[in-house]
């Protein structure tokens, strides 16, 4: 299988600076299974990189290797030039600069929504409780959940829980956000509100790596698409190239399996109901 990395007509976003995250021949084995068989690609600052491909192709594993929740068996992951898996690296310092959003939300069920968002800053950044609560409240308002601050996660819908999880990750003011299939566990009617929050985050210029099966989102919001299969990157490029003229048969098979036949979708197709409440642009940071 050849890997095409054609120079796009427009330069890739952030390509004038060093990449924030780079994966260099990353290998990961589970017993005899090569979950990752030499994965190489980069994420530039300000980019939204979408990882797509069949289930079990290694996308989520790669994301977990990015912040050292999983160890690797070969290759390197560099975050802002520092080797994430080097024994001398303090993984905690790198992790707090990478916000992570999980498929199953993983909110802390014993804490209120507000404390779910504030617990990172108070525990890790040693921020005073009042300041952390104020920051948490601001973020909850941004994701449209200011009125849920005092609730416990169990009282929220899946979409609301995932928005809290996004706010929790943002509370650490990360340089890059990692999304691991953030809408796969959601009811169809709440997927939109989560994608909408993510799109606005992208519009603000947040660097994002998104493992997703939402092809509309990948095409409309993604700046760079990486296609995985059997633990390898089989194709990568800007969305127009990957979705409209995939060079690899495997990519074509995968997309057609999802019912994607290369047609252009109207911009309104990504239209997702805005979450109740506003999501203002950040005024200060």
């Amino acid at each position: 299988m050849s890997i095409r990395t054609e120079t796009p007509t427009r330069p890739r976003i952030g390509s004038d600076a060093a990449p924030i995250l780079s994966f260099d021949n990353v290998c990961k084995r589970y017993g005899s299974l090569d979950a990752l068989a030499g994965v190489t690609f980069q994420v530039n600052r300000g980019e939204v990189v979408c990882l797509i491909g069949p289930s079990g192709s290694g996308k989520s594993t790669l994301l977990r290797c990015a912040n050292a929740l999983e160890s690797i068996d070969g290759g390197r992951v560099l975050m802002d030039g520092r080797d994430v898996h080097d024994r001398r690296t303090d993984a905690r310092n790198l992790r707090r600069r990478m916000g992570m959003v999980f498929q199953n939300f993983e909110l802390f069920p014993h804490l209120t929504v507000l404390r779910n968002v504030a617990v990172g800053p108070t525990t890790v950044l040693r921020m005073p409780a009042a300041g952390a609560a104020a920051r948490a409240m601001e973020l909850l308002r941004k994701v449209g959940l200011g009125d849920k601050a005092a609730q416990y996660p169990a009282a929220l819908s899946g979409g609301q829980q995932q928005r809290v999880a996004i706010a929790r990750a943002l509370a650490m003011q990360p340089d890059v956000m990692l999304f691991d299939e953030p809408t796969s566990a959601l009811d169809p009617e709440t997927i939109g509100e989560v994608l909408s929050v993510m799109k606005r985050l992208a519009d603000e210029g947040m660097t994002m790596v998104v493992v997703t099966h939402e092809m509309d989102f990948a095409k409309r919001v993604g700046n760079w698409i990486v296609v995985f299969d059997h633990g390898k990157v089989v194709e990568q490029g800007p969305p127009r190239q990957v979705f409209e003229e995939p060079t690899i048969q495997r990519t074509r098979d995968f997309l057609s399996h999802l019912g994607w036949h290369g047609e252009s979708l109207a911009a309104s197709d990504l239209l997702v109901p805005a979450p109740s409440g506003s999501y203002e642009h950040r005024t200060s940071d």
Binding site: R64, N67, L69, R92, N93, R95, R96, M98, G99, M100, F102, N104, E106, L107, F108, P109, H110, V119, G120, T123, V124, Y152, A154, R168, A169, M172
Partner: protein
């Protein structure tokens, strides 16, 4: 058969003092055995193999042998073999605490291991250290989850304190059995003893049930 309940009434202050000793032993033992059990549970989850297996042996010894034997052993062997001389009360407390800590450690360990790995990942991904995740995320959830099990250990402990009467600690059982042998009013004294245990034990069980309902975390 004629019953003479005046035996119970006449000895009421002794019985009450015995009941106080029973409560005192239960409360102090549990106050020590909760942190004790937690520490043992954390040691059993240690990354160091030697620490893990030493703790496992300790816990399994106290779980696999009868409490009455443990109390006897501490009463006779500690002074004879190690020249450690403790009062009867301290000996009783030590035996109960080691025993209940061992049971509590298994309860805590089960609770900690029942929390899904995703909760660890969520804490670590925020940049927390493992001890921070344990303290802020895992233990609060695990403790709430095992509260009913800790409660039934508490109620068992409350009843098991009666075993310390064998080394002459003046708890409710010791006092009641002594009154029985002084007066030969077996039926009255044992019935009063049963009533006193039940009166004290039932509210404790109910209180913990109530706590559990109140603190319940839904997912």
């Amino acid at each position: 058969m004629t019953l003479d309940w005046s035996v119970v009434w006449d000895n009421r202050w002794r019985l009450i003092a015995g009941a106080e000793m029973t409560i005192l032993l239960t409360a102090i033992t549990m106050m020590l055995a909760l942190p004790g059990g937690l520490i043992l549970a954390l040691l059993r989850l240690s990354p160091l193999r030697a620490v893990r297996s030493a703790t496992t042996w300790f816990v399994e010894f106290f779980r696999a042998t009868p409490l009455i034997l443990q109390i006897y052993w501490m009463f006779y062997v500690l002074p004879a073999a190690f020249d450690i001389r403790l009062s009867e009360f301290a000996t009783a407390l030590l035996g109960l605490t080691l025993n209940v800590s061992s049971f509590n450690s298994e309860t805590f360990r089960a609770g900690i291991q029942s929390i899904r790995p995703g909760q660890w990942n969520a804490g670590l991904a925020l940049g927390m250290s493992k001890p921070q995740v344990m303290r802020k995320i895992i233990l609060p959830q695990a403790t709430l989850r095992v509260l009913p099990a800790l409660a039934s250990t508490w109620v068992s402990l409350f009843k098991d304190t009666s075993l310390v009467s064998i080394i002459a600690v003046a708890d409710l059982s010791y006092v009641a059995l002594k009154i029985r042998s002084e007066t030969y009013r077996v039926l009255e004294v044992l019935t009063a003893m049963a009533a006193l245990y039940c009166l004290m034990g039932y509210p404790q069980a109910k209180l913990v049930d109530w706590l559990h309902r109140r603190l319940k975390v839904t997912e």
